[in-house]
């Protein structure tokens, strides 16, 4: 039963919540605004908020000077490739654990989770060395595989929690009607599993896009994604606020938009189903 709330109380809640929300969002907003200023306006004191001459110049300069498109393309390939590969490997595994559980299913799931806890820095040199030996240092292929492995436990877990919500009775009914494994997979499970797979895709794409340990340490020029592109702006040479803002806005805009769609999945995915 919902309780009656006075309009006044609601107005107070709204004001406080919006104020705090805007405060937390402010750094992002400020970055976006600054990206449309000239360098002079970007450092003006007192700062100008909205009333400046909006310009797209910074975006043009950033694109021209650093070949933004190449970094963007690398990010898309690395994040997209690792996510798709991860899904391909994880769907069968999660399916079998959800529908044909055995005594060891729980142990396997927890063991998979434990590989996620391995601190990256603990295996930095071995991976670095392996990449050199295999000739894949600074290659997109290496990062696709590594990020896939890093996120595989999360992908398996998310899919598992989604698949487990598909009622087993439906499968039994299908089996009674003579459906084999193939029909079961194609006509019953796949349609029911699509939303779960889609949210898993989305969240893991975001995680891979923002990954900044392996992408910084294993790339130099050819395979460098947006994380590295931004890090290159930390050198004094790149210290121009408006251009820095334009570069930042371009790096985060796609993921901010995707992220807004994935709030709910975020909770489930990152708490391994423990909070829903």
């Amino acid at each position: 039963m919902a309780r009656a709330v006075t309009t006044q109380r609601k107005a107070i809640n709204t004001t406080i919540a919006w104020a705090i929300g805007l405060l937390i969002f402010f750094p992002i907003l400020w970055t976006i605004l600054t990206s449309f200023k000239t360098e002079g306006e970007a450092v003006a004191n007192p700062p100008v908020f909205l009333f400046f001459d909006w310009t797209l110049e910074n975006y043009a300069v950033v694109q021209e000077r650093s070949n933004y498109m190449r970094f963007l393309w690398n990010s898309i390939i690395i994040a997209g490739g690792s996510t798709l590969l991860g899904i391909l490997v994880a769907v069968p595994a999660a399916w079998s654990m959800a529908f044909v559980p055995s005594k060891r299913t729980k142990d396997i799931l927890l063991w998979m989770l434990s590989t996620k806890m391995l601190p990256a820095v603990g295996v930095l040199y071995p991976i670095y060395l392996l990449c050199i030996e295999l000739g894949v240092l600074d290659s997109r292929a290496a990062l696709v595989v590594i990020l896939m492995l890093i996120n595989l436990p999360i992908i398996v877990w998310m899919l598992y929690t989604y698949f487990r919500e598909i009622p087993g009775e439906i499968l039994e009914a299908a089996r009674m009607d003579g459906a084999g494994l193939k029909e079961e997979l194609l006509y019953i499970l796949t349609p029911m599993a699509v939303p779960g797979i889609a949210s898993t895709l989305l969240l893991n794409f975001i995680l891979a896009w923002n990954e900044a340990f392996w992408t910084l340490n294993l790339t130099a020029v050819d395979a460098a994604p947006l994380t590295a592109f931004i890090a290159s702006y930390s050198s004094p040479e790149g210290l121009f606020f408006a251009k820095l803002s334009a570069a930042s806005t371009m790096a985060i805009a796609p993921i901010l938009i995707l992220g807004w769609f994935s709030q709910k999945q975020l909770v489930r995915g990152l708490t391994f189903g423990a909070v829903k």
Partner: protein
């Protein structure tokens, strides 16, 4: 009801994932262990044979070890404190009836989606820069001397940046937990004369305890290995070198692989202690 046939199929379907993760775990881990027992300087003489535990004792007795441990604990603890306390307050606030709740949620969660290098760089330059940063403008507007954030209060600054990224995560999870609380329980307590504080302390907080534990454990695992935020802002200077960053410097900057690997083994042990607690909670949830 699984048949023998489907059991075999299930096992086959699981194989690729299990195999890949097994390789991913065992190969680099055994290499790290191997290197940690050897004197290995790729640029200065290469692999010079076994020294057994010398790397382990040297890593611990080096003058940068304990400061790094301290920095790690301060940063992890600080971010946890900020994100849990403010996360609970924010979650309680967002659970109240209001206009535009969906939009506020989006505003609050947004920082979590910003890539770590971007948030570090934006904070470092546009907010914390002592000449042109917004904070400097603000300080001057009140007639105060601007703070040189990243060298005067470097650890505090990094805690601030990282908290900004992780507060949304804590808020979102705590909010999800709050929303699953049965509101009738609260109403009953209110009818029995329990004030807002009592209701929070005796009903909401106990209900949240599991979610809080999970937030603490998951964040600890991620926070123990923060890298980009330090790499971009201070590069480990001014006493902001965490354990992770120290190992990174040993391995890739000074190319002392043996020493760095021994540090890596310590980091793995540390992370595993935290992970054990997390796994126990998550495991319990599987038994439903």
């Amino acid at each position: 009801m699984a048949t023998q046939h489907s059991r075999t199929a299930a096992r086959i379907m699981m194989t690729p994932a299990v195999f890949l993760l097994l390789v991913w775990m065992l190969v680099p881990l055994s290499m790290t262990l191997w290197f940690s027992f050897r004197r290995f300087l790729p640029l200065r003489g290469g692999d010079q044979g076994f020294v057994w535990f010398e790397n382990y004792t040297r890593f611990i007795s080096s003058s940068s070890f304990w400061p790094a441990v301290q920095t790690t604990l301060v940063i992890v603890g600080g971010v946890l404190l900020v994100s849990i306390v403010f996360g609970i307050l924010l979650a309680l606030l967002l659970d109240q009836p209001m206009w535009g709740q969906g939009v506020v949620r989006i505003l609050v969660i947004a920082p979590f989606f910003v890539m770590p290098t971007v948030s570090a760089l934006v904070w470092k330059n546009m907010f914390m820069d002592p000449t042109n940063g917004l904070f400097a403008h603000l300080w001057r507007a009140f007639g105060a001397d601007p703070v040189v954030w990243l060298s005067d209060v470097p650890t505090f600054s990094i805690i601030m940046i990282v908290s900004w990224q992780w507060l949304p995560f804590a808020t979102l999870i705590l909010l999800t937990a709050i929303q699953s609380l049965d509101s009738e329980q609260l109403e009953a307590a209110e009818m029995d004369g329990a004030g807002p504080l009592a209701r929070f302390g005796f009903i909401t907080l106990p209900h949240l305890s599991r979610a809080i534990t999970i937030v603490i454990l998951i964040q600890t695992i991620f926070l123990l290995s923060i890298f980009a935020e330090i790499f971009v802002t201070t590069g480990g200077a001014f006493g902001t070198r965490t354990l992770t960053y120290l190992i990174y410097q040993r391995v890739l900057e000074s190319q002392n692989v043996g020493l760095g690997s021994a540090g890596g083994v310590y980091a793995i042990i540390l992370a595993n202690i935290v992970a054990l607690f997390l796994m126990r909670i998550v495991g319990k949830n599987l038994d439903r």
